[in-house]
């Protein structure tokens, strides 16, 4: 019997698990994929929003500003890249000023620090490559950019270090409520056996409605709203410094142009509701749309420098706000659903908020651990280390001297680290999210055979069993000449 089971190892589930791992309770996280960070948390804008956008008074607004504030120390504790680059909401015509003003007022109500409206000249000063058409902008210096992958992964690793058990490839298929007054418990049927828990936390992303509806008569519905992106070469990383939004208006919400925390340029996302919750495809029309719209914000979008495109699914609800709280007809069952944007920004605040909820509903006693480890050290990026440190590491572990990914200069040592960590990588994409190997301009053309070899060696598995990502995505079908034999 677990005290708490969290369903979903996205950034939200992992943040909650880590927060609860401060207490002397038995916690498990159940995840259907073969790795953490396989859902929405791996495909988003990576923006830590300042918090002027969410409607004043909503749960979103409160958690966003708080999450933004907490992100600084969290990123230090977890050793992940986070940069407060500031954000600008651009307006392109005088009529839009009013909207900008409304945003400012909303932001002030939300207590967003230091926001103000700035004139064209100041915008141009901040961003020389901005479009000539800009007339003014809302400037929010606390806006930031973060690595969504390592945020998710670091939270999970740290939770694991503090005793949280992670069960991957464990899909929740049914939940039964066993109610005895307040002391209810839940039997969770999964593809990997049964789990029992006193408290269940539903952080299943776009599938949170399925999970919720297993235990409650008050059904909820999550709509998957797709957002598509283009990612550009690092050559363009310094094209702009701030995250550039467009004033929401006639043309919809607009699209953003931003540097990523790793120094690429990114544009997107679109917003299209889709039936299929696995439909993370990109489309020609969306690519054209975002490029056209991005060109309203900046002078020139060099299409030739696109290195990849991708899409993610927002967990949208009709109420347009997060659903966080104990389910009325399911005591001890807590929904953390509808966590669409700015969910990533809210991550630390949601973790804290849900931990308080668990305290409040008082099903299990929460006693703080004395030996909670609040920090986690990331995988060293050898090439960026100071010379002495680098030399020392290579001397101790020569694999740190062997460059495997030429575009991002990632070494064999870093890849071995990614595999050997708590909840280590088992797939090519898992390595990529943890080290950035394969995420550069050649998009894994160079490093794929090398990483396959390292994965096979470290995990002691056959090359045929190595996959690109979760699910059936094997990279090869076998050895040479075997194929003819197989066909017979």
């Amino acid at each position: 019997m677990y005290d708490v089971i969290v369903i979903g190892a996205g950034v939200i589930g992992c943040s909650i698990a880590r927060e609860l791992s401060r207490y002397q309770i038995k916690i498990a996280v159940l995840e259907k994929c073969s790795d953490i960070c396989e859902g929405t948390s791996k495909a988003n804008s990576g923006i830590v929003h300042a918090g002027y956008d969410a409607k004043a008074g909503s749960i979103k607004s409160k958690l966003n500003v708080e999450g933004n504030r907490m992100m600084e120390s969290l990123s230090k504790d977890l050793d992940i890249p986070f940069h407060r680059n500031g954000s600008l909401v651009l307006s392109f015509r005088e009529e839009e000023r009013e909207i900008l003003e409304d945003l400012l007022q909303n932001g002030l109500k939300n207590k967003v620090p230091d926001i103000r409206i700035i004139k064209k000249e100041e915008v141009q000063h901040l961003e020389p490559n901005i479009s000539e058409d800009v007339v003014a902008a809302l400037y929010a210096p606390t806006g930031g950019i973060i690595c969504p992958f390592t945020l998710n992964i670091a939270l999970a690793e740290n939770a694991c270090t503090n005793g949280v058990e992670f069960f991957l490839e464990t899909e929740v298929v049914n939940i039964e409520k066993q109610q005895r007054n307040r002391s209810s418990n839940y039997q969770i049927q999964t593809s990997n056996g049964r789990f029992d828990s006193r408290i269940v936390i539903n952080a299943a992303g776009v599938y949170a409605d399925n999970i919720h509806n297993m235990v409650s008569e008050n059904k909820i519905k999550i709509i998957a709203r797709k957002g598509e992106y283009c990612l550009f070469d690092k050559n363009l990383g310094s094209y702009i410094k701030h995250t550039l939004f467009q004033t929401p208006g006639k043309f919809g919400k607009g699209i953003l142009v931003t540097p990523t925390v790793h120094g690429n340029l990114m544009i997107g996302p679109t917003a299209t509701d889709v039936e299929n919750k696995e439909l993370t495809t990109t489309t020609q029309s969306a690519m054209e749309e975002i490029i056209a719209k991005a060109e309203r914000s900046v002078k020139h979008i060099p299409k030739r420098q696109i290195i990849t495109s991708f899409s993610g699914l927002r967990a949208h609800t009709e109420g347009n706000d997060f659903i966080i709280g104990e389910v009325v007809d399911a005591p001890g069952f807590i929904d953390v659903a509808g966590i669409e944007s700015p969910g990533l920004s809210c991550t630390p605040a949601i973790g804290k908020f849900v931990a308080e909820l668990v305290t409040d509903i008082d099903i299990i006693p929460l006693v703080k651990k004395i030996d909670f480890i609040s920090t986690r050290k990331g995988i060293p990026h050898i090439i960026e280390l100071p010379k002495e440190e680098r030399d020392k590491l290579i001397k101790e572990t020569p694999a740190y001297g062997n460059v495997v990914c030429r575009c991002e200069t990632i070494t064999e040592g870093e890849i071995i680290d990614a595999i050997q960590r708590p909840i280590g990588a088992k797939t090519l994409d898992g390595i990529k999210r943890r080290t950035r190997s394969g995420s550069g301009r050649c998009q894994a053309g160079f490093c794929t055979p090398k990483i396959m070899e390292i994965l096979a060696r470290e995990l002691q598995i056959n090359l045929e069993d190595i996959s690109k990502s979760s699910g059936e995505s094997n990279l090869i079908i076998g050895k040479n000449k075997e194929i003819g034999w197989m066909n017979k």
């Binding site: 696109i306 991708f310 050649c442 053309g445 690109k468 040479n480 003819g484």
Partner: protein, 397 residues
């Protein structure tokens, strides 16, 4: 700091030929740095026949061709480091590299030859929409998997793009028992060599579909992309060397010297070649000039640098030329100018004009973007024309 007269970055056919030529020119302090576990470059994975027809008058496989140069490098006692990635070159000609045994280190050079080869264009650069499943490889990555690692990516294959590597992989996958359903090309002509279309597709009845503007569904477990090669010039860009937009390679003069004095470039890093023989020839020139550069005194160099250069202009139908400039004083007896045409020409002519005077013209049955063309510029012709400023190369239809 350890130092060498010439450091060669990359131990493929270009780097090897440059090293051999530099040594034969009298330079005794040469180092080749190669990131792979063996010398030979991309040739190691090209196990098919067809290399060396020009150089050795016989048909060799890629590894056999490379072996001839590797042996020569060993005979001449040229030093090389394997498993070593060069990560930076600075304007003082200091080369920083990394490997397992020496860690992160810097070596001083007097001259540098860039011979890093090229990489393949990836899916993202084409903007192909859809899912991001496993089984999509660039043709060269698949070639490495099949030919070096002995692994098969799949058994039902579609190939996008008709570059040489794609064509060769169509045959290779077929020989390994896979079914290659189609080679699809966006353009109205193939980007590959004619002989590869015949020997790799026609002989195996693999359909090649050129631009049609139609849509059709093909199921496959493997999609190979053969959609272009890009010279790998990250290091050159870090140095601030001028890069030619069309080739994505450094702009060079007839010595194959880049905009940075004493830094030479050759092979696929300069412009993408179809035939390794030309790579070797070009690289020998770069190696020889690097050696001369090291030997020649600084004053001599300076006075030569003051000479007005002749610019080669890519006229109608010509996409680019290598070299881009000729130094009339330094130039060899004959300078080979290589270029590519912008579309297929039947019965067209190549014309060379010195300023406004036509000096040379030759008819060709067929010219195509997939096959590199060349013209020879003679020193004696250049010298007989005083104050020559431009040489234009163009195609007459």
């Amino acid at each position: 700091m350890e130092s060498f007269d010439i450091i060669i970055i990359g131990g493929g056919p270009a780097g090897l030929a440059a090293a051999v030529a530099a040594k034969e020119e009298g330079c005794n302090s040469i180092l080749i740095i190669e990131r792979d576990k063996e010398l030979g470059g991309i040739l190691n994975q090209c196990i098919h026949n067809g290399f060396g027809l020009h150089t050795f008058r016989e048909e060799l496989t890629g590894p056999e061709y490379a072996e001839r140069y590797i042996e020569r490098v060993k005979e001449l006692n040229i030093e090389y480091k394997l498993n070593t990635m060069v990560i930076d070159i600075n304007s003082k000609k200091q080369v920083t590299a990394m490997n397992k045994t020496e860690g992160h280190f810097t070596i001083q050079a007097k001259a540098i030859v860039l011979a890093m080869g090229c990489r393949e264009r990836a899916r993202g650069a084409l903007g192909i929409p859809g899912y991001r499943p496993a089984g999509i490889y660039s043709a060269g990555t698949a070639q490495r998997l099949v030919n070096i690692e002995g692994l098969m990516p799949g058994k039902e294959v579609v190939i996008l793009g008709s570059g040489d590597i794609g064509l060769i992989m169509a045959r290779r996958m077929t020989l390994e028992g896979a079914t290659v359903k189609l080679v699809a090309e966006l353009m109205p002509y193939s980007g590959g060599l004619k002989r590869n279309i015949v020997q790799c597709l026609d002989d195996y009845q693999i359909p090649l579909r050129l631009s049609q503007g139609t849509e059709e569904y093909f199921s496959c477990d493997t999609l190979l992309l053969s959609v272009g090669l890009i010279p790998e010039n990250e290091l050159s860009q870090g140095l601030g060397i001028n890069i030619e937009k069309i080739t994505s390679g450094p702009i060079v003069n007839d010595q194959l010297e880049t905009s940075e004095e004493g830094i030479f470039a050759c092979g696929n890093v300069l412009h993408v070649h179809d035939l390794v023989d030309f790579v070797s020839e070009e690289a020998s020139l770069a190696g020889r000039n690097a050696a001369r550069y090291v030997i020649v005194s600084a004053e001599m160099r300076e006075s030569l640098a003051k000479i007005n250069l002749i610019e080669l202009i890519s006229g109608k139908g010509v996409r680019y030329t290598v070299p881009k400039y000729i130094n009339p004083i330094k130039m060899d007896e004959v300078v080979t100018v290589r270029f590519r045409v912008d579309k297929v020409y039947r019965e067209g002519s190549i014309r060379v004009t010195f300023d406004n005077n036509e000096v040379w013209k030759r008819r060709k049955k067929i010219m195509a973007p997939g096959e590199m063309e060349e013209v020879k510029i003679k020193r004696q012709d250049v010298m007989s024309e005083s104050k020559l400023q431009n040489i234009t190369i163009e195609i007459i239809e």
